[in-house]
C-alpha cells in the first residue's frame, strides 16, 4: 500500500467537474485507489463516491492505493489535485 497527503486548492473544491476528472484519472490505473478526508473514505473510481466526499477548498485529502501501479496512481492523483484541476486557486 502506498499513500500521500495533499490539500484541495482550487475554488470552491472538488465539485462536479473536478470529481469527473479525478475519477477518469484514477480509472486509468489497475490499483484500488481511495480518497479520504478526515470524515470519509471513498473509492476514487466511483463518481458517486467522490461526489459524497464533498471536499471543499482547504480540505486535507489522503490518496491511498493498493496494487501493482500504486505509486504511479497516487502520484498522478496528487498532481491533479495540486494542479487545482486547471481552476482558480484559493489564496
Amino acid at each position: 500500500m502506498y499513500e500521500a497527503k495533499t490539500v484541495v486548492r482550487n475554488i470552491p473544491g472538488i465539485h462536479a467537474r473536478p470529481a469527473a476528472l479525478l475519477v477518469k484519472e484514477a480509472s486509468l490505473f489497475k490499483a484500488d485507489v481511495t480518497l479520504a478526508t478526515p470524515d470519509l473514505t471513498v473509492n476514487a473510481k466511483s463518481i458517486m463516491g467522490v461526489m459524497m466526499l464533498a471536499a471543499e477548498t482547504g480540505t486535507e485529502l489522503t490518496v491511498r492505493a493498493e496494487g501493482s501501479d500504486e505509486q504511479a496512481a497516487v502520484a498522478a492523483l496528487i498532481r491533479l489535485v495540486e494542479s487545482g484541476f486547471g481552476e482558480e486557486l484559493g489564496a
Binding site: N10, I11, P12, G13, H15, A16, R17, P18, A20, V23, N43, K45, S46, I47, M48, G49, M51, M52, A54, E56, T57, F85, G86, E87, E88, L89, G90, A91
Partner: protein, 572 residues
C-alpha cells in the same frame, strides 16, 4: 358546477401573463412500493437492473445527440455527469449487493440507495454540494422509470398552450423544454436562481416559482391564470379575472402590432428625447439575439453563468474568449460586463462561501471579489484583454462605499499594466458602480465623481430599500418598484449624478415593465437595459409617449403617498 376560485402566491420569476389548462408533470417514479422477491428470482432481478441501466444510458446518449450542442453547453455537461453516475461500477455493486441481501425488487432498492445519497448531500453546509442532490434525484427517477416501464410524463410533449405545473423542473429537463409550446410555467420549489427561471426569463415564458405545497392541489386540466409579473396564480379564474387578463392581452397585442409595423431605430420618445435601450444577457450566446432585436449594446452582461451547474471558475484565457464573443456582436455599441456577483440567491453561494445566516446581507458582489483578489484580478485582466479596441464598461455589483470602488479602480489599473506588460493590447475601460444599496444612493454624489457611469439595479435596490426578500412568497406582495420611496431613491441618484455629467442607466426588471419604465424615463434615466425579448417592445412604448408628459407624471408620483397612489397617477 363552476370550480372554486383559488389564489396562490409564488415568487415572480419571469414577467408576462397567460391563461390555460394546467398540465401537471407527474413523477411516477416517486411512488415505489416495497416488494419482496423470491430467492430464485434474484438473478433475474439483477439482470433487469442492468438492462434498466443500459436503457437509461442510451436515453441520455440520445438526448445529448438530439441537443447536439457540442460539449460547451451547460445542459450537455449535466447530462454527461448523469451518464457518469450511471456508469459507476461501485454504485452498481452496492445496488446489486443490496438486492441479493435484502431481496427487494430493484426499483425499491435503487430508490433507497439513491435517496440516501441525495439526503446525505442535502445535509452539507455548502450550497455547491447540496445542489448536486437534484442531479442524484434526477438520475434516480430516470432509472426507476426504466425499471417500472413508465417514465415521467415527458416534458417535451406538453400539450400546446398549457400551463406547465411541476414540483420542480430537473436540470436535465430544462434542456428539453420547448418554451414556444407552453403558455406559462409554475413550480412548487425553485428560486430566482434556478435554471428554469433563467430559461423562462430569457425566452419570454411567464413563470412563477416557489409556490409551495399548495400547488399540489391543482389538478391537470384545471384552468389557471398565471401572472409572472406579480407571482400570483388564480386557479379557476372568474369572469373579472378573465376580463383583466383580456385587457392585458389586448394591450400586449396593440404593442405587438406596433412592433411589426414600425422599423425601430434607437430608443427615443415621441418628442425626440433619446433613451438608449440595451439588453441584459446571461450567456455569451445571448449576444447575437440581443443584436438581432436591435439592442443598443449590452447594459448588463451577468458573468455568473461560468458557475452555473457548478462548472469551474475559468482562467483568464477562457473568460477573455467568452467576453470577446459578446463584444463581437456589438461593433459600435457599448457592452457592460458586470463583475462576479456571487452570494445571496446566486448559484455560487456555491463558491465555497460558507453558508450565511443572512446571505443577502452577507459576502456578496464586490465584497466577495475583494475578499478573493485573485479571482477578481483574473476577471479584470480578461475583460481588459478582450476589450482592446472596443467599447467596454465594467459594472461593479453591491458597491456600498467609495472605498470599495477605489479598490476596484486600483485593481483595474494594475490589471491593465499587466496586460500591457505581457505585450497585449489593452482596453480603455469605463468603470461604474451598480446602485443597489441605499448607502450607494446616499453617497451617489461622491461616487459619481469617481465613476464613468451608473447603473441602477432596481431589483436589489427595492429589496434593500423596502427590506423585502422577493424570494419569500409570503411577503412578495410588499415588493414593489412603484413604491414612492423607491422612486425618490432613483430621483436622488439621478440628481447626484448630474453635476458629474455621467450617464445613468437602469437594468432591473422595472426597466422593461409597464409602468416602471415610464417612471424611469420620466425621472430622467439615460439608458434602459432589458431582457432581449423586451428590447423592441420597450422601444415601441417609448416611441408612443412624450418625455414632457412623463416628467410631469414622475414629478407627481414623487409626491404620492403610497404605491396605490402612484399606480393611480400612472393609469391617468
Amino acid at each position: 358546477m363552476t370550480p372554486k376560485r383559488i389564489v396562490l402566491q409564488g415568487v415572480a420569476a419571469a414577467p408576462g401573463q397567460a391563461i390555460g389548462p394546467a398540465h401537471r408533470l407527474v413523477a411516477h417514479a416517486l411512488e415505489v412500493p416495497r416488494r419482496s422477491i423470491a430467492p430464485r428470482k434474484v438473478a433475474a432481478e439483477i439482470r433487469r437492473f442492468r438492462q434498466a441501466l443500459s436503457a437509461a444510458r442510451r436515453e441520455i446518449r440520445e438526448l445529448r445527440q438530439r441537443l447536439a450542442t457540442g460539449g460547451e453547453d451547460p445542459g450537455d455537461q449535466i447530462l454527461a455527469s448523469h451518464l457518469m453516475i450511471l456508469q459507476d461500477r461501485e454504485l452498481q455493486r452496492e445496488i446489486v449487493e443490496a438486492i441479493k441481501a435484502e431481496r427487494f425488487h430493484a426499483p425499491y432498492v435503487v430508490r433507497r440507495v439513491f435517496q440516501a445519497k441525495a439526503h446525505y448531500l442535502e445535509t452539507l453546509p455548502s450550497e455547491l454540494f447540496r445542489s448536486r442532490a437534484a442531479d442524484i434525484r434526477d438520475v434516480r427517477d430516470r432509472l426507476v422509470g426504466q425499471l417500472l416501464g413508465r417514465g415521467r410524463s415527458s416534458i417535451a410533449h406538453v400539450p400546446e398552450g398549457s400551463v406547465l405545473i411541476a414540483s420542480e423542473i430537473a436540470p436535465s429537463e430544462v434542456a428539453s423544454l420547448r418554451p414556444e409550446r407552453i403558455a406559462a410555467l409554475v413550480t412548487q420549489r425553485g428560486t430566482l436562481a434556478s435554471h428554469v427561471t433563467i430559461m423562462a426569463r430569457s425566452r419570454g415564458v411567464p413563470a412563477v416559482v416557489g409556490v409551495g405545497d399548495a400547488l399540489e392541489s391543482v389538478p391537470s386540466g384545471e384552468e389557471v391564470w398565471v401572472d409572472g409579473s406579480s407571482g400570483q396564480i388564480v386557479v379557476g379564474p372568474n369572469r373579472a379575472d378573465q376580463r383583466r387578463h383580456r385587457h392585458w392581452r389586448e394591450r400586449e397585442a396593440r404593442i405587438g402590432q406596433w412592433l411589426t409595423q414600425r422599423e425601430l431605430g434607437p430608443g427615443r420618445t415621441r418628442d425626440g428625447h433619446a433613451i438608449a435601450v440595451r439588453a441584459n444577457i446571461d450567456r455569451p450566446e445571448d449576444a447575437a439575439l440581443a443584436a438581432e432585436v436591435g439592442a443598443e449594446g449590452v447594459g448588463l452582461f451577468r458573468t455568473e453563468f461560468f458557475f452555473m451547474d457548478a462548472a469551474a471558475f475559468p482562467d483568464e484565457e477562457t473568460q477573455a474568449a467568452a467576453y470577446a464573443a459578446v463584444l463581437d456582436a456589438f461593433a459600435d455599441a457599448p457592452v457592460t460586463i458586470r463583475t462576479l456577483d456571487l452570494g445571496g440567491d446566486k448559484h455560487a453561494a456555491l463558491m465555497g462561501i460558507p453558508s450565511e445566516e443572512n446571505p443577502y446581507l452577507g459576502l456578496r458582489g464586490v465584497r466577495f471579489t475583494l475578499e478573493h483578489p485573485e479571482l477578481y484580478r483574473t476577471q479584470l485582466r480578461a475583460i481588459v484583454r478582450a476589450g482592446a479596441g472596443r467599447r467596454v464598461r465594467i459594472l461593479v455589483p453591491m458597491i456600498g462605499s467609495l472605498d470599495q470602488f477605489h479598490q476596484t479602480r486600483a485593481l483595474l489599473a494594475e490589471a491593465r499594466e499587466q496586460i500591457v506588460a505581457a505585450g497585449h493590447a489593452a482596453a480603455e475601460i469605463a468603470l461604474g458602480p451598480m446602485i443597489e444599496l441605499p448607502s450607494a444612493v446616499l453617497m451617489a454624489d461622491r461616487l459619481a465623481q469617481a465613476s464613468d457611469f451608473f447603473s441602477i439595479g432596481s431589483n436589489d435596490l427595492v429589496q434593500y430599500l423596502l427590506g423585502v426578500d422577493r424570494n419569500n412568497a409570503r411577503i412578495a406582495s410588499l415588493f414593489s418598484p412603484l413604491d414612492p420611496a423607491v422612486l425618490r431613491a432613483i430621483a436622488l441618484t439621478l440628481r447626484h449624478a448630474r453635476p458629474s455629467a455621467i450617464p445613468v442607466g437602469s437594468c432591473g426588471e422595472m426597466s422593461g415593465e409597464l409602468p416602471g419604465l415610464l417612471l424611469l424615463a420620466g425621472l430622467g434615466i439615460d439608458e434602459l437595459s432589458v431582457a432581449p425579448f423586451l428590447v423592441r417592445r420597450t422601444k415601441a412604448i417609448l416611441s408612443q409617449v412624450r418625455q414632457r408628459d412623463l416628467e410631469r407624471m414622475a414629478g407627481r408620483c414623487l409626491e404620492a403617498e403610497d404605491r396605490r397612489a402612484v399606480r393611480r397617477i400612472v393609469v391617468e
